[in-house]
């Protein structure tokens, strides 16, 4: 009986890590996707860590940088042909204080949406709609590029160390607490004319979607771009 329970726990642990998921939201505001559009891809903000047996996390610069590169390239190739032109834009490259304010406002709006539209309790006035915007000042984000859209991507996650995997198996046997790590991607597409977030997605990576590898990043980006309007 005890052994069966252990096996079950291990299976549950495996299933938990095996779950990949996406949660897309499409604006309920007036929106028609432009053809021949230009999209700015802001370099994804990526931070990946190792989850150690003790439960402590340690940032891995190599994984983070590889993840950032892989996702950028995967986004480029996935969007190539969908939108007519793609420009990769360095997140830290801001030309004016107003542009900097718009980027920070985008962060604040995305955080708010994460808090109230994705997690926690919804705001009653936002229950039946997805209406998130940084306002018409967004045009300024296009700069001289003539871009119509901007895509912001945030990635955070950790991967179990070998020690953690072993510890989890042992913990499963004991019925103790387990930690599995995981990686999340959060993306928003902004219409630079209205400032509206016309599409957003919160994706959890499935086991085959390891952004540290090019194929994994391609698969993860394919999941991420579900219902992408362009």
């Amino acid at each position: 009986m005890r052994r069966n329970q252990t096996v079950l726990l291990i299976i549950i642990a495996f299933v938990l890590t095996a779950c990949g998921s996406t949660q897309t939201k499409i604006t309920t505001n007036q929106f028609t996707a432009k053809t021949d559009a230009v999209t700015l891809i802001y370099t994804p903000d990526v931070e990946l860590s190792v989850l150690m047996a003790t439960g402590m996390q340690e940032t891995r610069a190599d994984w983070s940088e590889t993840g950032q590169d892989n996702i950028t390239v995967a986004l480029q190739s996935a969007l190539d042909g969908r939108a007519s032109r793609i420009i990769v834009h360095d997140r830290e490259d801001v030309q004016s204080p107003r542009q900097s304010q718009l980027v920070k406002l985008t962060d604040a709006v995305m955080q708010t949406s994460l808090q109230y539209d994705y997690r926690g309790q919804k705001l009653p006035t936002h229950k039946k709609r997805y209406s998130r915007s940084i306002g018409p000042g967004a045009t300024l984000l296009a700069g001289d590029s003539g871009a119509n859209y901007a895509l912001m991507v945030l990635a955070r996650g950790n991967y179990q160390s070998g020690g953690k995997v072993a510890m989890n198996i042992a913990m499963a046997a004991l019925g103790g607490p387990m930690q599995f790590g995981g990686q999340n991607l959060y993306a928003a597409l902004i219409d630079l004319e209205t400032g509206d977030i016309v599409w957003s997605n919160l994706a959890t990576a499935a086991p085959g979607e390891d952004m540290r590898k090019t194929e994994g990043a391609d698969k993860l980006v394919a999941s991420l771009l579900k219902d992408f309007p362009l």
Binding site: M52, T54, M56, E58, T59, R60, A61, S64, E92, G176
Partner: protein
């Protein structure tokens, strides 16, 4: 003897000109991870509303820093001055240095500032953050065993939290040794930059004196009692060590009192306002009195001493505040606000003519005051009262 030898070792180490800390080559290391994380943090600090961007003040702090570290090492450092009422500076493993307004306000001279900046640079050069992180990691390994034991005993996961704290305790004790090492490095760098390194001990003496005047028991006790959580060695021990160093090694000549006062004077008002936000009014009064003794405009110091009394609200503080404001109004360097404070005081006392005169003087001295409309309404009301 052992200590003397280790000090000697530190000096030999520092005899070679400082070199810039390079980015780690191997990106898979914990050190590279720390840099990556700190780079992100720095980006956020840089764009935050907390940084004082004034070029002259930044040049001043950079000049002292570079004097202490040497030009080459300094070229790799980024310095951010932050308005925060704490007596501290800090340095991250990626070469980001944060200097708080509370330190600039409390340092008596370039020499004292050099001591603290040299100390922080010592942490950086010796890669103390990295050592601390590694210590935390290795000291947490034995926690795995405890976590298993906890699981076996059927204890809830919250036990893990308590176990973690023990690990943190060990980590902090380790830090105390690093602090001593950084003190030694800071001392020798200060001396090498031709500053009066015997001033380093005064940084701590001043801090002890200020803490002893604190409103809060926790602060008054600091430095007197051993606290296992404190990240720094006892200030008294530090003073002893620094004085021992000062007596056995040649010090520089430069003090740089006047230049320090001149560099921070433009920010005095806003930094003293920031100090009041911490609401440690007894320590504020002590500090502001010290600032007056050090040659800052007495009108400014007295005004803020009055402000600290007003905010403290103890028996007799109203009279004390008034006395300080009256004194400030006639002294050099008083901010226009002192006349508003006096106007408020007279109005409460029913001394309408005196109140009117004070408010009017306030508007003359601060014609663009944000509360002009309100003061104008007071003036109108007072004029009507005086007439009737």
């Amino acid at each position: 003897m052992k200590r003397a030898l280790s000090l000697l070792a530190v000096f030999c180490l520092l005899a070679a000109p400082g070199t810039a800390q390079d980015r780690p080559d191997d990106m898979s290391t914990d050190e590279a991870g720390l840099w990556y994380k700190m780079d992100k943090y720095e980006q956020a600090i840089k764009n935050s509303g907390a940084v004082i961007s004034d070029p002259e003040l930044n040049n001043y702090v950079r000049r002292i820093t570079c004097g202490v570290t040497g030009e080459e090492a300094c070229s790799a450092l980024r310095i951010y001055i932050i308005e925060e009422p704490i007596f501290n500076a800090s340095m991250a493993p990626n070469g980001m240095m944060m200097v708080y307004s509370g330190l600039l306000l409390r340092a008596e001279s370039e020499a004292q500032l050099a001591c603290v900046l040299g100390h922080e640079y010592g942490h950086f050069e010796q890669k103390h953050s990295l050592q601390g992180w590694r210590k935390a990691k290795s000291s947490s390994n034995w926690m795995i065993g405890l976590q298993f034991a906890a699981a076996l005993a059927g204890l809830p996961p919250e036990m893990g939290q308590a176990i973690n704290q023990v690990g943190t305790l060990l980590f902090y004790r380790f830090n105390r040794e690093q602090e001593s090492e950084a003190d030694q490095i800071g001392f020798s760098l200060t001396a090498k930059a031709d500053y009066r390194a015997d001033e380093c001990a005064f940084v701590w003496k001043n801090l002890i004196a200020e803490n002893e005047n604190s409103t809060f028991r926790s602060k008054r006790r600091r430095g007197k009692w051993f606290n296992p959580y404190s990240t720094h060695p006892l200030p008294r021990d530090r003073i002893e060590e620094l004085e021992a160093l000062a007596s056995s090694y040649p010090s520089g000549q430069v003090m740089g009192r006047a230049t320090h006062i001149a560099a921070i004077q433009p920010f005095l008002q806003s930094w003293m306002e920031a100090e009041l936000l911490a609401r440690d009014f007894d320590s504020n009064i002590y500090l502001f009195e010290q600032l007056k003794l050090r040659g800052f405009p007495p009108g400014m110091a007295d005004y803020f001493i009055g402000e600290a009394y007003r905010l403290r609200r103890e028996e007799g503080d109203t009279a004390r505040a008034f006395e300080m404001w009256e004194q400030a109004a006639e002294a050099k360097g008083a901010p226009a606000d002192v006349h508003r404070a006096l106007g408020e005081h007279y109005r409460k006392q029913g001394r309408n003519k005196a109140a009117l005169a004070a408010y009017e003087r306030y508007l003359v001295e601060a014609p663009n005051a944000e509360d002009r409309a309100l003061i104008a309404a007071y003036i109108e009301r007072l004029k009507r009262k005086i007439k009737t």
